[in-house]
């Protein structure tokens, strides 16, 4: 069970983690498709690179963002004693 004095540090830590996960992700999903046309002259796995990054790339980035957030946030929960009982 979490101690009362841990609440503020826990929430500060959580907020930084959320910012670190959300901001780069939002920047990427907005910027990547805008440069797709110029990247399409290159290729990757046979795909035009701009299309590949906007479709497959963003899907992979989204999965990676959630997975890394789940792991990092779980570590934060344990560090501050805010986790659920096993």
């Amino acid at each position: 069970m979490m101690e009362r004095k841990e609440r503020k540090p826990y929430w500060r830590h959580t907020k930084w983690q959320v910012l670190a996960s959300v901001v780069p992700f939002l920047v990427l999903i907005i910027v990547l498709p805008l440069y797709a046309d110029s990247l399409n002259s290159e290729r990757f796995l046979g795909f035009p690179l701009g299309y590949f990054l906007s479709a497959h790339g963003i899907a992979i980035i989204a999965i990676f963002t959630v997975a890394s957030f789940v792991n990092r946030q779980d570590a934060i929960d344990h560090w501050h004693g805010a986790h659920e009982d096993m």
């Binding site: 996960s21 399409n40 046979g46 999965i63 959630v66 957030f69 929960d77």
Partner: protein, 610 residues
């Protein structure tokens, strides 16, 4: 003290049960394939493919009845992350997303990605900023959460009223798309199929509520994903010798780029706020596949993406699904699974579009007028394609019905008819998942927050469940009537629904967790302004008063909702100490689920009273 646990009560045999379901479905398809080779009548094959899976879903739903509210409304809070994620991924855009987005990919290529990226980003934002906190709170509906968070019955009733509009639009879209596929499959009128789908929802849900819906919905989602994957995987093996259609269509895409350039398919530049998604019905291939911003302008692309993001992240029919997971950690994981499944589904839709364009490219390369191959003549006979103009054959000679592109692939590849019917039954399954998610959410809101909206105590157990059943059945009937009376393009309905849901709920839900200062006045102003501005923008856009497509209503709805919430909160007194303490508690994953604790204390109080 009771506490939440990550792994409590999860049935270890779920994998076995759904393995049996998937095997039964595969067995049915193989059996019908044998019947087709033996020359059995088409009618029998078509009805078998529609009714066989429907009976399996109904059997699963009927086999898990319950009389306990926690089971009825939250499936006992023991649905593992993988199944929750699968349900959320398929319910997000349902059959409308799968069918229409495949057609949109085929007709305008790259620009369809604004919807896909928006959906994926919606899960990311939901996983990080909303769902874990909603799970800690544990209420069965979003209006119940908002009402308790702001200690306001007005907020509860207002959010319930606002929620019904986008959810009904989504329900109507799903019923219409499911009816389109079902009616085509068995040759019956769409009106009849709408009522068959509504009845299938009622049968699968009535006895066990969300428990029935979760498990029958998981089976439907598995069927939808298999029906989407199997035909295109076979085509991928035929064309590229590799069973990964999502990753192996790259070389085809390169060939397509050269062919489209050589045959003069134009490079179009859309206005920056242009949003010309293909509508229901036949349309020509308008632009090159990989060249962006030909139908959707760059600004409209970003706005549509953010609107879909907000709509998915805050949709009041998806968020309650996370309260069924065993804990906060599982909730976060479930959204990770939803991202995986949604990405897989949408990349498969894109792959189907590329393969279909590849088949058209072969025709254009051959350039033989008046001597179209059998598969194209079959598609024309089915009404999926019309051919216009004389020689030479060009990309613009063909007008494809947007919602038939998904069904066209098995025909173009020369697969047996059963694969075509399997694809159609997959669309019906996806429609049932989408319609089930929205209809059950509306039914729960009617019972929990409208009929019982003025009371902080739930109704007595038996009455509560009977009323919820009645509300769900009534919602299904109402949704069917709306689908019949408002025959609008299902994709438009879906996009409007997401725009309204995002504008209304996204700012308020996010601020309710991340800004302690927000109070009930802020919530009322945020909900009201977001909803009103989004609805007015859609109406103005559709009547050409405003040069902005209704699907982009989030560009004004989201800031209006956020501004309304912030300004009204700052202009009125701070929340009470008990509300601040509640918000602090929501933010911590450990400890007892807040709603469950309140119900436990209420039971104790009632026992002492009696």
């Amino acid at each position: 003290m009771s506490v939440t646990s990550r792994t409590r009560f999860v049935n270890p045999r779920l994998g076995t049960y759904f393995g049996i379901f998937a095997s039964s479905l595969a067995g049915l398809v193989l059996l019908l394939l044998i019947f087709e080779e033996l020359g059995t009548s088409e009618t029998l094959l078509r009805w078998g493919m529609l009714l066989g899976p429907l009976l399996l879903y109904a059997a699963i739903g009927v086999c898990v009845p319950t009389r306990e509210p926690i089971e009825f409304f939250a499936a006992g809070r023991r649905v593992p992350a993988g199944y929750t994620g699968l349900g959320i991924a398929v319910a997000t855009m349902g059959a409308t997303g799968i069918v229409a987005i495949t057609g949109v990919f085929f007709l305008i290529g790259f620009d369809a990605l604004c919807l896909v990226i928006g959906g994926l980003a919606g899960y990311v934002i939901m996983a990080i900023m909303l769902a874990p906190f909603f799970r800690k709170f544990g209420t069965f509906t979003v209006p119940s959460y908002l009402g308790r968070r702001f200690e306001s019955k007005t907020v509860r009733l207002l959010s319930a009223a606002c929620m019904i509009v986008p959810a009904t639009l989504m329900l109507a879209a799903e019923l219409r798309m499911g009816a389109f596929a079902g009616a085509w499959l068995v040759g019956q009128p769409q009106a009849l199929m709408i009522f068959i789908l509504a009845a299938a929802f009622v049968v699968t849900t009535l006895l066990g509520g969300m428990r029935s819906l979760t498990w029958s919905g998981s089976a439907e989602a598995i069927a939808a994903v298999l029906a989407l994957l199997v035909p295109v995987t076979i085509v991928a093996v035929m064309v590229t010798n590799f069973p990964l259609p999502q990753l192996t269509n790259g070389p085809l895409l390169r060939a397509l780029m050269y062919s489209e350039a050589a045959h003069g398919l134009p490079i179009v530049d859309a206005p920056t706020l242009g949003f010309a998604l293909p509508t229901e019905g036949a349309a020509h291939i308008a632009k090159r596949f990989t060249v962006p911003y030909g139908a959707v302008g760059p600004t409209a692309f970003v706005v549509a993406m953010l609107t879909v993001l907000a709509g998915v992240a805050a949709s009041p029919w998806l968020i309650p699904r996370v309260t069924m997971t065993p804990g906060v950690y599982e909730t976060r994981k479930s959204l990770g699974w939803a991202t995986v499944y949604f990405g897989l589904i949408m990349l498969t839709c894109a792959a189907i579009a590329v393969y279909m364009r590849d088949f058209v490219m072969d025709l254009v390369k051959a350039g033989v007028p008046g001597n179209l191959p059998d598969w194209m003549q079959h598609l024309i006979a089915l009404g999926f394609v019309t051919v216009e103009g004389a020689a030479p054959v060009a990309y613009t000679s063909f007008a494809f019905v947007r919602d038939s592109v998904l069904l066209s692939l098995p025909v173009a590849a020369g697969l047996p008819s059963v694969f075509l019917y399997f694809a159609a039954t997959g669309i019906v399954a996806a429609a049932l998942v989408g319609a089930g998610a929205t209809a059950s959410a509306i039914g729960n809101v009617i019972e929990e927050d409208i009929v019982n909206g003025f009371s902080s105590e739930p109704l007595p157990r038996v009455g509560r469940l009977h009323l919820a059943r009645l509300a769900m059945a009534g919602t299904a009937a109402g949704g069917a009537m709306v689908a019949l009376l408002a025959p609008t393009d299902p994709l438009r309905l879906l996009l409007w629904s997401l725009a309204i849901a995002g504008s209304t709920f996204f700012p308020v839900l996010v601020l309710s967790i991340w800004w302690k200062r927000m109070n009930d006045f802020g919530a009322i102003a945020g909900l009201g302004s977001g909803f009103a501005v989004a609805v007015l923008t859609i109406l103005a856009g559709e009547s050409n008063i405003l040069g902005l497509d209704g699907a982009l209503a989030g560009i004004v709805g989201l800031p209006a909702g956020a501004l309304g919430a912030v300004l009204a909160s700052l202009a009125t007194p701070q929340p009470t100490r008990s509300v601040l303490e509640l918000v602090r508690e929501i933010r911590i994953p450990g400890g007892e689920v807040i709603y469950d604790r309140e119900m436990r204390l209420l039971r104790l109080k009632n026992r002492e009273r009696s």
